[in-house]
Symmetry: C2
Subunit: 326 residues, 2 copies
């Protein structure tokens, strides 16, 4: 399943990637972050839609040292149980515009009814700043030839570890999280909740089916030979979700990612009403469309041009650029 | 192009659809909305991601009358120019969690630095309540046969007016908004900004190409015969956007909707970095994929099963349900 940020973070720390070990000696005591002394150097990223902003700041200590920090501010969602109180206790309500039955106002609330979630990374290294920096994205049109000449050699050179996937399939990890399994080694799979989903509400339901068969890296490896596996995932996965969570198949979006985040075939199940990250047309491929295309032409995914976006800092982009293809 | 909510609203009003005319006599004076006297009856919809909530409320007047209202609360985005002030003037900053270099806090701000945009529809009719009510969505798998037997007869029975599209093509409206035109009656098109885009920043760039040729209702009507038209839209549209707005083709998402919102072929161009509404995999079809499929098989879009979502209140859903297909 897709790694949660927490897990990614842990791995990076183990591998010493974020440099936190090196800087631990000078680290201030937890809970000590001097917000009022922060100078904002740069907005790394902002999302008007999600009401969040990512800041690169610097703290000047009394001793003259400067320490970088990443500060993420995000307004929190409205909570149904607080609404009545919030409407009664406003400090001001100012008319902005009025037209017939429609009007808009500026509403001001007491601080405690309108908090902001703040996440701090402190001290932050250059790696952290890069991680949160808004990167330009580029659309890649990968032909079948491009896959063979650029993408496949790149994947093979990277030796991404997918031991954590094998641990799940071999019941060495996350055994108690498995929702359903078809144990067939060729056409079977396990279904489990994605780490992004807390299983507390169906609104953002998110599960992952991971196939037992090894060596199917992605969409690009699929042929008509895999139709039984795909059909099992679509049908049995949907039934298992209906049985366990009560959500009908007509309320599920079932798709693969290309590029995937790891190269062992897996399928995403998300609630149709949930605007899930990664379900946009330049990354997601509906499993039912994939099956239709394989029935039409077994070599469809070896021949077709696949379109996907790469961020400026992704190494695969450089490979495409060096080949004159991006 | 897709209608903006404002335009939709105007049309509904003209057609007397929302009943505002009937209720205008009892309408309170503008700017008079008694927020503190509002009883919240129901949450019509909420978006945790966008920090917005849609409420159905009722106002009890002194005379004992009850009047329905829709109240929409939405937190506003952070503004870069206010950030420094906001960090300095907080009223409280409380540690929630701390782990190594990572920590989270609850930040509380003075009311004036953290306003909430409030939109009121008052008095609201049943139509308004329905409009804002969160509707269940259902995934439809429309086979080629389903299209012929269910969808096409439905479209033809509805006689949706697309006079506004013809007005654009004939230069009777929006002439000054046209960004580019290829005037060929068979393989030409006009390109203009979508109403959702204010043209002030590239972040949410959104344009629409509308083909000159009439009678191509949607993706379902496309065959290899239309490849020249589609190629022109993809190439010339992309070039025109690069020339006018400076955004390269590799930073554009170019796609069709199925179902479309009106049945005259049009193509959406959005900034790749913009998480545009309607670009998710169950509605959007990349123009480059469409062209690949038509080259593979001229009848691809007459034969394939197309997947799309319908809301519970959409009449086409009833047609599929009555045919036992949803």
């Amino acid at each position: 399943m897709a790694e949660s940020p927490a897990i990614k973070r842990k791995r990076e720390e183990k591998e010493g990637k974020n440099g936190s070990a090196a800087s631990q000696n000078e680290r201030p005591a937890a809970g000590d972050f001097p917000l009022a002394e922060l100078s904002v150097l740069k907005v790394l990223r902002e999302s008007a839609r999600e009401k969040a902003i990512f800041l690169h700041g610097r703290v000047n200590s009394a001793s003259g040292d400067e320490t970088d920090a990443v500060v993420i501010l995000e307004k929190i969602p409205f909570q149904e149980e607080n609404i009545a109180e919030l409407l009664k206790k406003h400090t001001a309500f100012q008319l902005q515009m009025s037209n017939d039955i429609y009007s808009t106002y500026r509403l001001f609330l007491p601080p405690e009814l309108n908090e902001i979630k703040t996440t701090v990374v402190y001290p932050a290294t250059e790696k952290h700043l890069q991680k949160y920096l808004c990167q330009a994205v580029y659309l890649i049109q990968e032909t079948g030839e491009d896959y063979k000449n650029i993408t496949l050699p790149f994947i093979e050179s990277q030796s991404f570890s997918i031991q954590w996937v094998y641990n799940i399939l071999e019941k060495k990890a996350e055994v108690d999280r498995i929702i359903y399994e078809n144990p067939d080694p060729i056409n079977g799979f396990v279904l489990l909740p994605d780490f992004k989903w807390n299983q507390k509400q169906l609104d953002d339901l998110y599960l992952i089916a991971i196939c037992h068969r090894r060596g199917i890296r992605s969409l690009r490896d699929l042929t008509a030979e895999h139709l039984t596996l795909l059909k099992n995932i679509l049908q049995e996965g949907g039934e298992a979700i209906q049985k366990r969570f009560g959500l009908a198949k007509t309320q599920l979006r079932v798709y693969l990612h290309y590029q995937p985040s790891y190269f062992h075939l897996h399928v995403h199940f998300t609630a149709l009403s949930y605007d899930a990250p990664g379900c946009s047309v330049e990354r997601a491929h509906l499993l039912s469309d994939v099956m239709f295309n394989l029935e039409l032409d077994s070599q469809y995914y070896q021949k077709c041009t696949l379109t996907f976006a790469l961020r400026a800092d992704e190494p695969l982009l450089k490979e495409f650029q060096e080949a004159g293809k991006a």
